[in-house]
Symmetry: D3
Subunit: 177 residues, 6 copies
C-alpha cells in the first residue's frame, strides 16, 4: 500500500527549518501533501505573505532539494471557523493520507482525536530556524537571509517583502483613529 | 402568566458558582433557559471544552440539584458576527423568555437595549468559583476538583480534560512557524 | 456500555411521523440526542419556525409520549458551510453517540463516511406524515391539525404560525423590486 | 419629536416606481433613511449592479426630485445570515427611525415582530414600474428607458449595464463544467 | 474629468481631527466618498458606536462645516474576511473614485497594490485629536468634549455614549466565567 | 518575461474536454496555474467530488499528457462571498499570472473588469465533453467512461463515485421533512 504523508505549515516565510523537515519527511513516504495553512491570511505582521507567494516559495524549495514534483501536492487551505472542523476541512481539500508529521501540539491533538497517526519531526536549529525569528530579523535589519534558502531570498526580494512587513508595523495613524 | 428566565454562561467548565447561581435563579421562575454561549468554540486555552461536553456537564448538574428537567432548556448558541445581533440570535434559538439573569455588563446592556429586564445574581465565592480560576489550577496542578461538583469532575476526567488543556498551552513549535 | 443514539430532523413543524419515529428509536437506546437541524433558519417558506419554537414543540412532544427527559438531549445546530464538515460540527455540539437513526440518504452517507453506524427507521404513513404536506395544507386551508399532536397544534396556534407561513408566500411586492 | 422614516429597496435598478414612492414617503417624514439592501450582491442576473452603482443612482434621483439632501441618508446594508437578525442589522447601520414604509410582506413582518410601525405605500403602475420588468426589457431589447428617470438611464449607459446583464445570462460554457 | 476622492475612517467617535482632515480634502476634489469602516462593529471598547450613530455624527459634521451634501457620500462598509479583498469590497460599495486620502500605512499599501493613487493628509494636533485619546478621556473623566465639534458632543450625550463605553470596560463578571 | 497563464475549472469530474483544453493552453504559456474552483463544495448533485479528489484527478491527468509538473500549479480556491471579490481572492491564492484562459462569460467579465487579459479556448466536442453530461450518464447508467481519461475513470471507481452521486439524488426522506 502506498504511504502518503501530510505536512502542515504556514510558511511565513519558508525557511531552512522547513527545508530540513521536508527532506526528512519525504524519505519516509511515497507521496507528500504539504498544506499551506491559514491560506486566506496576508498583510498581517505575523502573516505578511499571500498563499500564492507561499506556494511559489514551496515550489522553488522542492525544486532545490530535488524532490520529484509528481510525489508532492501543495495545497493552500483557509482556516476553519472552529477548531473542531479543521481536520475534516483538511481531509476534504487533500488526497487521502495515512500519516501526519507535526510537532505542533494543537495540530497533533486534533488529528489524533480523528484517529490519525501523528509523528514528530527532529528539530533543526529550532531557535534560529523559525519564521518568527526570520520576521524579527527582517524588521530590525539583522541577517535574515542566512535563515532562508537562496531561491526563497530571491522570491522575498522580488515581491519587496521586507518593505511590506515594515509597513505593517508602522504605528496606526490618523485615518484609523 | 408563566415566568421563563434566561441564564447565559460559557461553562468552561461548569463549577460550583454556576451551580449556586442556577439554584438561586430556578426558585424565581417557572421555567429556565440555560444558554451555552460561544458554542462553536473549543480546543482553546480559555475555551477548552466543546458545546457537547458542556451540555453533558449541565445535564449532570441539573440532575444533582434535583431540578425538574421538564422546567429547563439547555441551548447551545454560537457567537454572533456582531454584538448588535447577539440578542436577536438568542431570541431566535430559545423559547420566549421574560427575564434575564446576568452579572456580566455587556450581556446586561445588550439585553436592556432590546427592552428586556435583566436582574443580577448574588455572587458565591466569586474569587475561587470562577472558570478562570478552575483552568488556572488545572494548569499548575493545584486543587481544581474542590471548585466543581463531583459529577462534573468525573466528566472532565472521562474526557481527559486536564491533559487537553495542558496541551493547548504548550509553546508553538515547528510546523506553525 | 451505554448506548446513545442520534436523531436528526428539521421539525418544520414537528408532526405525528416524528412522534412515531422517536417512540420507535427511544426503545432501542439508553439516551437519545435529538438534533434540531438548520437551526439558524426561520421565516422561510420551507422553514417557517425558529429553532426556539421547534425546541418548544419537541419538549411538549417528549412530555406527551412520556419519555424520561433525563434520557433526552435537544440540540439546535446551525448548518455547516460545507457538507464535509457537517458531521464533525454535530459531534462538537453533542454528547458522544454510538448510532445514528436516519432514512435521509445524504445524512446517512455523511455519517457512514466518518465510520458511524446508521440505522433506518420504519416509515409511518410517509405520504401524509411529512412536514411538506403539513405546510401545504396550512397554505391551502386543508386539515393540517390531524397530522400533528394536539399539543403541537397549540404551539403553532399560539405563535400564529399559519398566518406567518401564508405571509411568507405572498408575491414579492414593490420595495424588493 | 422628529419623525424619521425608513425605506428599503434593492434598486436593481432604480426606476420610476421607486421615484414615485420616495416622493410620496418624503412628504410624510422629517428625515428619510433609504436602505440599499443586498448590498454585497452584484453581477447576478437578478442583481446586476453593485451597491456603489445603486447609491449613485439614488443620489441622482434625489437631486432630480429636489429632495433636501440633508434630510436623506443612503445606507447600503449587506444581507444578514439569518432572517431573524436582519432587522437589528438594519438598526445597527442606521440612525434611529420611527416608521418603516414597505409593501413587501417579509420585510413588513420582520419589522412588526420587533414592534416597529410599518405603513404601506400606494403602488404606481406596479406591472411596468418594477425592476424585474426593467431587466426583462433590457435582455430582450424592448424599451426599458421609459421606465427609468433620464438621469438613471445615463448611469446605466455609462457603466454599460445592459451589456453586463446580457453577459450574465449567456449559457455556462466550457471552463465551468 | 471629475475628481472623486475617498476618505476612510472608523470615527469612534468623529473628532476635530476628522473635521480638519475633511475640510482639507474636500477642497481638493469635486466629490468625496467618506467610508465608515468596520461598520459591523459596535459595543466594543475600541469601537463603542454603531455605524448608524457614526453616520449621524458625519451628517452633523458635514452640515457644520458647510460642505455641499450633494458632493458627499457617506458609506458604511463592513470589514472584509481577508485583507487582500478589502479594497475590492470598498470599490464594490462606492461610486468610482480616482484618489484615496489616507495616512494609515496598511490602508495606503492595500490601495497602492491595486494601482490606486494615495495621498497623505496634514496632521492636526495628532496627539490629542485622536479617537483613542477621546475614548481615554471619556473613561477617566477628563475633558473629552474639547476634542469634538459641539454637535457631535450632543450626539454622544443623546445616546448616553460615555455610560456605554464605561460599561464595556467593567471587569467580566460571573455569567461569562 | 515569463508568461504564466491561469485556467479555472470545477472539474466535477475532470473529463476529456478539460484534457484537450489544458493541452492547448499549456503550449501557449511558460507556466500554468490550474484553479480548482468551488473548492469547499462536495457531496452535492452538481458537485459530488471533494477538492482533494479533484486535485488527484488533475495530478493523474497532467502525468498522462506528459506536462512538466514543475510548470504547473494546482490550486483549490473556495468561492468568495461576493462576485466582486472573487478575482482578488484568486490573485491572493496564486502566483502572479499574465493571462486567463476561459470561455465562461462571468469569469471572463470579472477578470476583464480587473484589467486582466482573457483569451478563449477552442471547444472540443462541447456537447459530450461536459461534466454535466458525465454526471447525467453516471446517473442513468449510460457510458460515462468514454468521456474521461482512463486514469480518471480509475479514480472515480476507487472512491466509488457513481454510487455517491446516485445516493445524492435519492428522494429526500423522513428525517429531513
Amino acid at each position: 500500500m502506498m504511504l502518503r504523508g501530510l505536512f502542515v505549515g504556514r510558511f511565513q516565510p519558508f525557511h531552512n527549518g522547513h527545508r530540513e523537515a521536508i527532506k526528512y519527511v519525504i524519505k519516509n513516504v511515497d507521496e507528500l501533501v504539504i498544506v499551506v495553512g491559514s491560506a486566506q491570511v496576508s498583510h498581517e505582521i505575523d502573516n505578511p505573505f499571500t498563499a500564492g507567494e507561499r506556494i511559489m516559495m514551496l515550489k522553488m524549495a522542492l525544486k532545490d532539494i530535488l524532490v520529484d514534483p509528481l510525489k508532492c501536492y501543495l495545497v493552500p487551505i483557509p482556516d476553519a471557523s472552529m477548531h473542531s472542523v479543521w481536520v475534516p476541512t483538511v481531509i476534504s481539500y487533500t488526497p487521502p493520507f495515512n500519516i501526519v508529521f507535526s510537532n505542533e501540539p494543537l495540530t497533533s491533538r486534533l488529528f489524533k482525536e480523528f484517529g490519525i497517526i501523528v509523528e514528530k519531526i527532529p528539530f533543526f536549529n529550532r531557535d534560529t530556524y523559525s519564521a518568527t525569528e526570520v520576521r524579527r530579523r527582517m524588521l530590525v535589519g539583522e541577517n535574515w537571509k542566512e535563515l532562508l534558502p537562496g531561491s526563497i531570498v530571491k522570491v522575498v526580494e522580488d515581491i519587496d517583502g521586507v518593505a511590506r512587513l515594515k509597513e505593517l508595523t508602522l504605528p496606526d495613524s490618523f485615518s484609523k483613529r
